[in-house]
Symmetry: C2
Subunit: 225 residues, 2 copies
């Protein structure tokens, strides 16, 4: 029998949409456990998981089978086990230190957000070029001058950075991060960052997210021709 | 010859990942045109588009072929034409009025963001239940009591809403929006909203976005077994 943390696949080969769905399964299972409190549900079937995630159950079974058979036909998956396994796969059972660059409105909102910690993420420093911000604290996170960012990344061995600077400054900031040793960037600037292949970039562009919604909305107003 | 706006496909059948990539092509082409200024480039090949978008050229050709053959082998795509066509497909050549519910840090950051307008989006009202916020203006957008949200949506015929309220209030707010007639929701609350099938929901959960990054980061620290 395979142990929970012995994962016999090559992570690099798992398609990104599968990873996206795994994060959704994990989040929904955790919410389920939080909300259940007293009445403890031990097992969950793929069709129950389908209802709470909105992802169809065939897809769920396929995604989870990717990582070895930890469900039983007709019975389902043991919830706690599935949570631990998903955390193991996603690497979210670890703790991760993060830095953030650009303390404007969005940057400040992200610094004030309390939801990271229980997911294992900890913003340990924020950087801005505006001298009037340097030295302040937001949500107990210190704001430093951006010229010290690279040294900070190296010293603290940071691997994850969040970019909330304006578009025209984002490429430069990304390069400083990568030069310091950062390998994963969550980018909110509406540009396509150029980074070496070994750096993973996840860009969230609010306008693009709205456009994706609008596509489906406008589907109703177009007719086939 | 097919006219630019005569789109002969059923929008509902286009896979979501294709739509996601189309929004990226459009954004990158627009940035290209903005940055080019004087030296006008008229055509772009799929391999050039691949370099600026980071999406492989085979995929690009496949995605664009979906919507009819508007490129020429060996020559590429006419840039301006491609932009107009993509806008037509995505519905982003239209103007869309939007409302926002929940004026905390993130909501305020989104209200202050100036990038929507040139993408055709216009936030025309924001709603909060906190009486100390009601009546104020942020970036010239008026803040109303959330009890008037449904009436506002109906009166102004709003189809798109942004949710930036805390997780525990998000479901109720989504229901008010849907009852008012909203069909597309951009949700920043870290929960899975339950809405009727005809409503499109795009949830952005910062922790989940970080987890997606961490998966690739932790891939290096796991060994195959």
């Amino acid at each position: 029998m395979r142990g929970r943390y012995k994962i016999n696949y090559n992570k690099k080969n798992i398609p990104q949409p599968t990873i996206h769905r795994l994060t959704i399964y994990l989040r929904c299972l955790e919410l389920l456990v939080e909300n259940e409190n007293g009445k403890k549900k031990e097992m969950i079937s793929s069709s129950e998981l389908s209802i709470i995630t909105g992802i169809n159950s065939h897809q769920i079974r396929k995604d989870l089978a990717y990582f070895g058979g930890f469900g039983k036909r007709g019975i389902g998956y043991p919830i706690q086990n599935l949570i631990i396994t998903l955390k193991g796969i996603l690497g979210s059972s670890k703790k991760w230190d993060i830095i953030l660059a650009g303390v404007g409105n969005l940057g400040e909102a992200l610094l004030r957000y309390k939801g990271y910690k229980k997911r294992g993420f900890n913003i340990i420093g924020a950087f801005d070029k505006n001298p009037s911000k340097v030295g302040k604290r937001i949500n107990n996170i210190e704001l430093y001058d951006i010229q010290y960012m690279k040294t900070f990344i190296i010293k603290r061995n940071i691997k994850i950075g969040i970019i909330t600077v304006p578009a025209q400054a984002a490429q430069e900031v990304a390069e400083i991060m990568v030069n310091g040793g950062i390998k994963s960037i969550l980018n909110f600037a509406p540009i396509v960052l150029k980074c070496p292949d070994y750096v993973t970039i996840n860009t969230i562009d609010i306008s693009i997210e709205l456009e994706r919604l609008v596509y489906y909305l406008s589907a109703e107003t177009y007719s086939d021709n």
